[in-house]
């Protein structure tokens, strides 16, 4: 019997236990279903606490015959995922309503998706990464189509599913080819077996297919087509979730595979990544300008952000990795909060999704205006928000790696992105509403989530050291 060091697996175990507790509690009919959400939050919070502790203590090791690697990197990503999960659950509590009977599965699927992400970050074996990816994706397909009585939600689910499964197939074939070329799928073994001479068409095409697969998953131009449709159609909370955690998970695996397993191929993949980063940033930002629906706008913005994060990957250094991790964390927080603010803007007629619906909102709902403005400013990368520091850090790592032109394009893109982010702010504060709208009262949990996110964004913006030092320790 192989012995297993359970303490290394604590965060995952906590999530699995929470999952089953929710599953059991869901069967009790008389129970208020809101409890399930809180159980989820508590479970995720415990897992978060455990992960942070492990990160601070510096607990590292591998488990399951080397397939599961607990190190600073995976623990930090765990933190990203768990924060996303907690925030999304917080904003979901009121979004799902009280009478919705389908709450149990919702939280279970969120937890399963979280678990999949954690596996992706910690997977030290391509097949684990694939399985984690699938666990996450499958849960998300269902979540995207969760409101089956809504045609939009079902459609979003279907589009996500078809393109997601398509991408998975590419990813899998890539793994197969790499397996053929190197003879192993273990990430450290690949790295040791590879050397400069081991270039072969098999390996290169495997690598290329991996890029395509990841490209779809993290929505990189030109593999991004699913993102806007899915974000628009999916329940807003789920759109927030998809834009945050899974993207981080995709990058976690992306960076682990390309920086840990294929560092010797850097000359081969670097050019592709740089090119992708450029077109992703530019494409995402430019198309975002034309959007009238705020969810679609946020979708394109999240595509553009994937481009910024790719810069960190292209830098191919510890610093680049650290900056991408930093950026992913704050990106997750601010993006979820932005979606949360969109939910908050729900009026009596339903959600206001058109940007023109936001006219005059800033003065009539000052709190909401403040949140949304803060988040949009952070997304645009204005100081003193966390978004600014994140971009700065990424650009710094890229300049260090010598990609000055990439940084210039990135910085110009920041300016372009300011245009459409600020346009929403413009609408909120500078236009009069076309018609008087009734508003629902603020759901307290949603506000709580937004307050937490806002404090986080500002705190990290003002005191980035709080986050930078742990990350640098984590990637060392």
């Amino acid at each position: 019997m192989p012995t297993i060091n359970w303490s290394l697996l604590m965060p995952e175990l906590v999530i699995v236990s929470t999952l089953f507790i929710v599953l059991i509690f869901d069967m009790i009919d008389s129970l208020s279903k809101k409890v399930l959400g809180w159980i989820t939050i508590v479970g995720a919070a415990i897992a978060l606490w455990v992960s942070i502790n492990m990160l601070l203590v510096g607990e590292v090791g591998t488990e399951f015959s080397g397939m599961f690697e607990i190190d600073g990197y995976s623990l930090f990503f765990n933190i990203i995922f768990l924060i996303s999960t907690i925030l999304v659950t917080l904003i979901s509590l009121s979004y799902l309503g009280t009478d919705h009977k389908k709450q149990g599965p919702y939280y279970i699927l969120i937890l399963l998706a979280t678990l999949g992400m954690m596996l992706m970050a910690a997977g030290n074996e391509l097949i684990i990464v694939f399985l984690g990816l699938e666990l996450m994706s499958l849960s998300l397909y269902v979540l995207a189509g969760y409101f089956r009585e809504s045609p939009a939600s079902s459609e979003a689910g279907m589009k996500y599913l078809l393109l997601g499964a398509f991408a998975s197939a590419f990813f899998l074939y890539g793994i197969a080819l790499i397996y053929g070329a190197v003879g192993t799928t273990s990430i450290p073994d690949i790295a040791t077996k590879l050397n400069e001479n081991s270039l072969s068409p098999l390996l290169l095409s495997g690598m290329f297919l991996l890029i395509v697969g990841f490209g779809f998953k993290v929505a990189i131009v030109p593999f991004h087509q699913w993102a806007p449709d899915v974000y628009e159609g999916a329940p807003t909370t789920i759109a927030a979730f998809i834009s945050a955690g899974p993207k981080a998970a995709g990058f976690a695996a992306f960076m682990r595979i390309f920086l840990d397993a294929l560092p010797d191929l850097e000359p081969q993949w670097n050019g592709i990544i740089i090119l992708l980063a450029m077109i992703t940033m530019t494409g995402g930002n430019i198309i975002a300008i034309a959007q009238t629906n705020i969810k679609r706008m946020l979708a394109y913005s999240s595509i553009a952000h994937a481009g910024y994060i790719l810069i960190g990957l292209a830098a191919a250094s510890n610093d680049g990795k650290a900056s991408a991790m930093f950026y992913l964390l704050i990106y997750c927080v601010m993006n979820i909060a932005a979606f949360g603010a969109v939910i908050l803007a729900k009026n009596a007629d339903g959600e206001s999704l058109l940007i023109s619906d936001y006219a005059g909102l800033g003065f009539r709902k000052p709190l909401l205006g403040l949140f949304l403005t803060l988040m949009l400013l952070s997304l645009a990368g204005f100081p003193p928000t966390a978004g600014f520091v994140g971009k700065f850090y990424i650009f710094k790592s890229a300049v260090q790696a010598g990609y000055v032109w990439l940084v210039i394009i990135g910085a110009i893109n920041t300016a372009i992105s300011a245009f459409y982010y600020l346009r929403v702010v413009v609408k909120m504060y500078m236009n009069e509403p076309e018609e008087e709208l009734e508003f629902n009262p603020y759901p307290s949990t949603l506000v709580l989530g937004l307050v937490v996110a806002s404090i986080g964004v500002l705190l990290i913006g003002i005191l980035p050291a709080l986050l930078v030092s742990p990350i640098q320790n984590a990637v060392m």
Binding site: F64, K101, P105, L112, L138, V142, A181, S198, P201
Partner: protein
């Protein structure tokens, strides 16, 4: 021409024809049947490769479960024959086929160069002659070294189970 060659070309040919049929039949039912044929032929290839276990699982899972689901849904939705015009996307068709041909050429090129490239693991490895693995060995590996993926698979199935129930189980709302 050994027996293996013959069988390879039979199974390979059938699977290719089946695959092409999948994408060219107008009616989903025919496509599904063609896909079943392809899967069968692949199971045959797996047997040729000494992977008996995989071959059996291929038939059980793909032919026995997955494709039945497909047929079930096609019948349930009773999708009439779509005209070929509507079945194919016009603007993409040319590009797709071109892309496909390029991809295929590339794939063949890669495969052919594989053996000539001593850096590739498959080419440089000493091919183990006739090792066919027993289920015991597979089982041991599965429950020792590959315990984690195995457990994850169970979670994936749990996700699928819950997801499907949520998506198609009827009437929770109506009852309220």
């Amino acid at each position: 021409m050994t027996a293996e060659h013959i069988f390879f070309f039979i199974f390979g040919g059938v699977s290719l024809i089946g695959a092409i049929s999948v994408i060219s039949f107008r009616h989903p039912i025919y496509s599904a049947l063609a896909l079943i044929v392809t899967f069968f032929a692949q199971a045959g290839l797996f047997v040729l490769l000494g992977a008996h276990f995989v071959a059996a699982v291929q038939v059980i899972v793909y032919a026995g479960a997955i494709m039945v689901l497909f047929l079930f849904v096609i019948m349930l939705l009773n999708l009439g024959t779509l005209s070929l015009k509507g079945a194919l996307s016009g603007k993409l068709k040319g590009v797709a086929i071109l892309l496909g041909i390029l991809l295929a050429i590339e794939g063949i090129y890669i495969a052919v160069t594989t053996l000539n490239n001593p850096n590739t693991a498959v080419a440089s490895s000493e091919v183990a002659a006739d090792t066919s693995y027993s289920i015991e060995e597979i089982g041991e590996l599965l429950f020792k070294d590959y315990l984690l993926p195995f457990e994850v698979t169970s979670l994936i199935l749990l996700a699928a189970l819950i997801g499907v129930i949520v998506l198609v189980k009827r009437g929770n709302q109506q009852e309220n």
